[in-house]
């Protein structure tokens, strides 16, 4: 179960000492920690790309006796597995990142929301937490700092993709169905148990710890102006060397594919099921929040792959994982899946396909949360780029 991690060069995480990071943190004022993260330009590594410092600043400014830091380890996006690697290999770095966040916003409690599928990681995480408590890296007066109390507990998910959405995650922690909330209010002021809560992805927290150890300028050496720093990618599909890779933000898709042995791909799904399908003609585009965004999932499709099968697989996923709360997502995904099945049978007219695309656009606008808003992305981009593959199919192809 050890994932293959890029063997040509070590991950940056391996070179950062989590203890040193935390020592730097407690040596600074809260405002200095917040300023450092702000200067780095770090954006959420889970996929949404929300500036981490904005989240932390809002949570720091929110009024509340008790505040929370939540590590979103509900890594469910198809094709993503870098958080699993980080959680098992760089656990202390993630904990240091959470502790730094707690220091910055004034939180006393931390929760790792670990997806149920990763239950086998739980014992390891508990061991690390226990060790940290023993070394005064968690608990009361962390590293001797008066008034800095913080501890982390682990809570398990139970097999619901939508709980990766931060408000659904909070609902789940509160003992409810994982149905996303209306926003505002945002978790930074009305989060877990109605208290100010910063919810950050595993990788985001690990990078935050690195930034605090090495400085914002160090982080900004890589990446683009709007997407600073390095990023971990989970590469799977038709490539010679699948696994976890570290690349700077702003890398072109072509360059990434060269590195992993996927040069002859006809398309790459960037950002998982909720991301976009990019055809070979656009491989010079860059992976960055301002171009093709991703939480790290890169699924590569070789020349012989049937893109309609891909679309069908993704829509089956969304039909299954839609929480059912809002109509555009619940019903829309079903209709899109039916449409794809018609295309596979070769019984879909161009007129109906246009209507399906219209429905997809409606879902993007009208769905309540990111799941429904992004569910049609894959199909829409496949229809746009692979019309020859999907129209006028003969029934034998099914």
């Amino acid at each position: 179960m050890i994932s293959s991690v890029d063997k040509t060069r070590p991950l940056t995480f391996a070179s950062v000492d989590p203890d040193a990071a935390l020592k730097v943190v407690v040596g600074k004022k809260r405002s200095e920690v917040l300023a450092e993260v702000a200067a780095s330009g770090l954006k959420g590594r889970g996929g949404a790309g929300f500036p981490t410092s904005v989240k932390w600043n809002l949570a720091a400014a929110a009024k509340g006796q008790e505040k929370f830091v939540i590590c979103n380890a509900d890594e469910g996006e198809p094709g993503t597995f870098k958080d699993r690697v980080i959680l098992s290999d760089y656990t202390d770095l993630v904990c240091a990142g959470m502790t730094a966040a707690a220091y910055a916003i004034g939180a006393t409690r931390g929760i790792v929301y670990l997806r149920g599928e990763y239950t086998y990681l739980r014992r390891h995480l508990e061991d690390v937490l226990a060790r940290r408590r023993g070394r005064s890296l968690l608990g009361r007066k962390i590293l001797g700092k008066e008034g800095f109390d913080f501890d982390i507990e682990i809570r398990m998910g139970a097999g619901a993709y939508v709980c990766g959405e931060e408000t659904a995650l909070i609902e789940s922690l509160e003992g409810n169905r994982g149905e996303p909330r209306n926003r505002p209010p945002f978790p930074v002021d009305t989060g877990f148990l109605g208290r100010p809560t910063a919810v950050n992805n595993v990788e985001t927290l690990a990078w935050a710890a690195c930034i605090l150890a090495n400085g914002a300028e160090w982080f900004k050496k890589h990446g683009t102006e709007k997407s600073t720093g390095l990023k971990l990618f989970s590469v799977s599909g038709d490539v010679e060397r699948p696994g976890v890779y570290e690349f700077p933000m702003g890398i072109t898709i072509a360059e990434l594919l060269r590195h992993v042995g996927g040069e002859n791909a006809k398309a790459a799904q960037i950002g998982g099921a909720s991301g976009h399908c990019v055809p070979a003609s656009q491989f010079e585009r860059t992976i960055a929040f301002e171009d093709v965004p991703t939480g790290g999932s890169i699924i590569v499709f070789g020349p012989d792959r049937d893109m309609l099968e891909v679309a069908e697989n993704f829509l089956e996923f969304f039909v299954d994982e839609s929480c059912g709360q809002c109509t555009p997502c619940r019903e829309g995904n079903r209709k899109l899946l039916e449409g794809v099945q018609m295309l596979r049978k070769g019984t879909c007219s161009m007129k109906y396909l246009r209507e399906l695309c219209g429905l997809g656009q409606t879902m993007q606008l009208a769905s309540k949360c990111g799941l429904g808003q992004s569910a049609p992305n894959a199909l829409l981009s496949i229809v746009e780029h692979f019309k020859d593959d999907i129209l006028g199919r003969t029934p034998q192809a099914v």
Binding site: E77, T80, Y120, A158, S172, L173, N176, A273, N313, F317
Partner: protein, 171 residues
């Protein structure tokens, strides 16, 4: 005194509530533990949890029915969940699925007559670089090929037989 299964469940849940507390936020950990011990969350269990947490049992049912790892119907002792997401599909998931059905004699979504195995689909297990992947309860298996299916199932049977004989010795 005759201790019925229901009494035992109620007693267990009361102990769990002592551990996790009686806030609504204790609901998921309690239900997850009940699911693990009893392979299901029965009506009796849901009623007891509801009473202890001071909520309506329908609220508990709403949660149980929402999450795919919680179930009110009995599941097998070993739940085999095969990843059906695209990366595993591209690496030969369909043939592993067929072999699982053949060797277990049930279809996806069903439980074997002896109550030992439930076969289910899972969405992305996060093992996309080494698919096809499946979970047996909490344990993950990667790069599963049809010929490995038999060994995985037999491994479960052996560990269950061991578990049963241990229980016998304890009595």
């Amino acid at each position: 005194m005759l201790v019925t299964e229901s009494d035992k469940i109620r007693e267990d849940i009361r102990k769990l509530a002592e551990t996790y507390g009686r806030d609504r936020s204790a609901l998921m950990p309690i239900l997850q533990e009940v699911q693990k011990r009893y392979c299901r969350i029965s009506d009796v269990a849901m009623q007891e949890v509801a009473d202890l947490l001071g909520i309506h049992p329908v609220e508990v049912y709403g949660v149980v029915s929402f999450y795919s790892f919680l179930d009110d119907k009995p599941k097998g002792r070993f739940i085999i969940r095969l990843c059906r997401t695209i990366s595993c599909a591209m690496q030969g998931k369909a043939r592993v699925a067929k072999q699982l059905e053949n060797d277990l004699g049930v279809r996806f979504g069903q439980t074997t007559a002896d109550g030992l195995f439930t076969l289910e689909w899972a969405n992305c297990l996060g093992m996309c670089d080494q698919g096809p992947a499946l979970l047996v309860n909490e344990q993950v298996f990667t790069q599963v090929t049809p010929d490995k299916v038999h060994d995985i199932i037999e491994g479960c049977r052996r560990s269950f037989a061991q578990h049963v004989s241990q229980k016998r010795e304890e009595h």
